[in-house]
Structure formats: C-alpha cells, structure tokens
Amino acid sequence: MRLPAKHTQRLAVLILGGATALTLCVLLFIIFVVLKTGLPVVNLHFLLDNPRDMGRAGGIFPTFVGTFLLPLVAIAFALPLGVGTAVYLTEYTRETRITHIIRFGTDCLAGIPSIIFGLFGFIFFVVSLGMGWSLLSGGLTLAIMVLPTIIRTSEEAIRAVPYAYREVSFALGATRWETVLKVVLPNALPGIVTGVMLSIGRSIGETAAVIFTAGSSLRLPRSVFDSVRTMAVHFYILAREGISNENAYGTAAVLVITVLLVNMATYWLMHTFIARRAR
C-alpha cells in the first residue's frame, strides 16, 4: 500500500525529528549522569588539594594543572607551524603540486587516531630522543595531533581577509611579508584563535596520545622534562584500576565542565567572528 505523499511527509519528518531529538537527549543525558555522580564530590578542597594514596583520597590539583600545561606546550609548537603553513599556502604560492601534497599530508594527519600518535610519541620523543615521559614529549605529540586543525582554521581565516586589503598594502609599497604581518594576520586573528581553542579543547580531553608520552606522575611538574598527569588520564587510571570510584566521578565532572566551557567559548568566538565578517 502506498501512503499519500502528505502522510509520508508527516511520517518522515516525525522520524527525522525523533532521531534528532534522541541525539540531543543522549547529549543531555551524558552530561547529566556525569554531573550527578561527580558533583557531590567536587568542592574547593577537591580542586586545590594534592591527591593522597594514589588518588584514593585528597584532590586533583596537579592533574588540573597538567590538563592546562600540556595544551599550552602543544599550542606553543603547533601555532607557529600551523599559521606559517596557512600563510604559505594562501599568500606565497598558487595551487601547485607542492600545495596539493601538503594538503594531502594535512588531511591524512587529521585522520590518524590518537593511539597511533601515542605510539609514535612514545617511540620518537620518549625513547629515541630521550625526553622520557614528560610535559615536553606529551606537548610535542599533541602539537602534531592538533596541527591539521590549526592549519585549516587559520587558512580559512586568512582567506576571509578581503583581497582589497592586500592590494592596498602592496600599492603602498609593502612587501608580501609586511602585508602578511600588518594586514593579513591581524585581521585573521579571531579565526586563528578559534582554531587554537578547538585544539585546546581536543587536547584537554585526549587520553590515548597523552598517557604514553606525558606519563602519569601525580606530582606538580617543575620543568618541561617532568612527567604530568592530566585529568583525563587521572580519571582513566582511577576508574580502570578501581582505585576510587568517587574521586573518578569527581574528576570526570570537572573534566566535562572544563571541556564544555572551552568549547562554548570557542563557539561564542566563532559566532561573533562570523557575525563580524557578515557585517
């Protein structure tokens, strides 16, 4: 039996809408469960105390610090490389064989799963270069991981800068590099920052690439050569090894709140950026 077109339409919309609503509910449910089980544990002491007895008691302060230090180190390396690549691709070359290969490489890198980054970071930074499990090894591994994101968002932001600005700058006797520094990059800044925020968000939640490169020391790092443990790794170890469910839930809650805040800030930034461009 064939339904009349009108009814098919109603049915289709119902199914599609139902699926979308279900997705949305899953998201809210995940956040709800994490916060409901975790928030009772979270208080100022939990955030600011050192863990005791492998994390069975005490707080999560060093992991909180590690969670922010690691992305910082990663960005310190990835930002100049990513923005430099974007500048080269947009301002210094036409579409050639080299740019195609670079784009292909970037796309491939973006598709590599984090466990492979972890393997690579371990064998290359930790073992071959002798950096050991450290902030530096982990940061460099994450830097490679987020490089494609930074390249892509920067490239998009740079392409959005009106061509007329460049023309004016050249006509006023600026060289290409001067034009990039004084006109292109300042105007692409919001987009570049968006890419950085996305990368930070991803780094904060990363576990597989971090656990084998940054290690899992519970002490505050004194230098980039010290091992750190992030909240994601801390949660994984607590839950997996059954050390303390309570503290694991608490850590998960803080982790989720942090990631959501970073992502919402990113979204807000992107939104105002796009709104500004449309003006």
């Binding site: 600005y165 460049r166 023309e167």
Partner: protein, 254 residues
Amino acid sequence: MNDAQAKLTVRGLKVFFGQFLALRGVTMDIAANEVLGIIGPAGSSKTTFLRALNRLNELTPGTRVEGTVLLDGEDIYHPACDPVMLRKRAGMLFALPVPLPMSIYDNIVYGVRLCGVRTRARLDELVEQSLKAAFLWDEVKDRLRTSALRLSGGQQQRLCLARVLAMEPELILLDEPCSGLDPISTARIEEALTALKARYTIILVTNNTKQAARVADRTAFFLMGELIEYGPTNQLFTTPHDSRTDDYVTGRFG
C-alpha cells in the same frame, strides 16, 4: 614632446592574462605635472594599463607583460627594478575606498612606517600635511585615533588619497576614484586633484567623461585594450581624430 621631458615613457606595452591579450600595445608619453585623463567604455583595459604602471598586475597569477615603461628614463620592468620601491614612487587610489581596519592615523602612516619613518613628530607632521592636502583635515583632526571604517564613503576615499600623499610619491594613479561617491564628495576629490597637479604627475582613469573634461590636461581614449588616441582634453572632446572617439565622447555608445 621628446623623451627627455617625459615623466613616463610607454612603448609597445602589452599585458597578457594567461592567453588573453588585455592590453594591445600602448605607446604614449606622459609629462611631469600634468593630469592625464583616461576614458573609455568598461572592459577597455584602462585599469590594466594603470596597474601596469605600478606593476600591480603581477599580483594576479599568470600575468605577462611585454614592451617598456620608463619612469624618469628607468625601465620599471628591468629585473633590477624592485616593484616595492616602484610602488612607493607611484601611489594608487582604487575605485572603492579601502581603508585598512585600523585608526585614521595608522592608515595614513601605514606606508610611511614601512619606509622606516618612526619619529613621532615627523609622523604627526605627515598626517596633518596629507590630510590637509586631501581636504579632510578639518573633518577628522579631532578623531585621528578612531577607526577609519567609521568614516563616510567620501571621507574614506579622501583618507585613501591622504594615505597615498603621505608617501610623497611622484606619480598618482587613480582608478575611477569617484565611481562610488556622491556628487559633493566627487567635487571634493576633484578639487584636491587640481590643487595637487603642481607637485605630482596624475593619471586619472574615469568612466565619467565629464570628469575628464573638468580635471584632465590631456585625455586618452582606450577601446578594447587599444589606445585609440590621446591629446589635449579640449581637442579630444571637440575635434577628435578618430570617429570612434567622436562616437564615445558624444555619447553614442559606452
């Protein structure tokens, strides 16, 4: 006029975009301190000619140039000629005003700073001079630090003119600078150009034949990438040698 007197000597200038021959061999002399008007219908490569004079065409990939352009007897397409230095001598005003998204002050000193002028007093002086020369000083002198994007269209174009003047160029290239402006703003720009003639050589591309008649000493007529004829403005408009010029200036096409 002979070559020794000419500010610009153009010989057989051709511009190709890929396979397309946009400018079909232009030969002309431009004297110092004159205003040369360039008229012609849309698509006649007036702008391409203008951009060949400060080598801005080469920013478009696939552009090729043949022929010679001598500025004060120096070949600007010689490999030893630095296009960056050339553009400092040949300032350009675009069809639409493009203030950079920074303050009025920073816009004007943009090029000057790149030349290495850093002293505050000198920069202040340049800003005041060039804004006065562009008839904009009185309107903006109290808000030099505010964004240039907040100026009106006519003010923006005069700001762009001031920005060019601050570079103290020898040549000013104007690419339909009034096409987006209202009559009053247009009159302001024209007023400024007439006053500037004493110190600069000015080449004015315009869609508006009346503007050429008002401002230019001599006028050139371009059609389909060719220079049809050029001569004193009066003569070109009243007794042109070529019938196509006659058709255009009397408004029969274009």
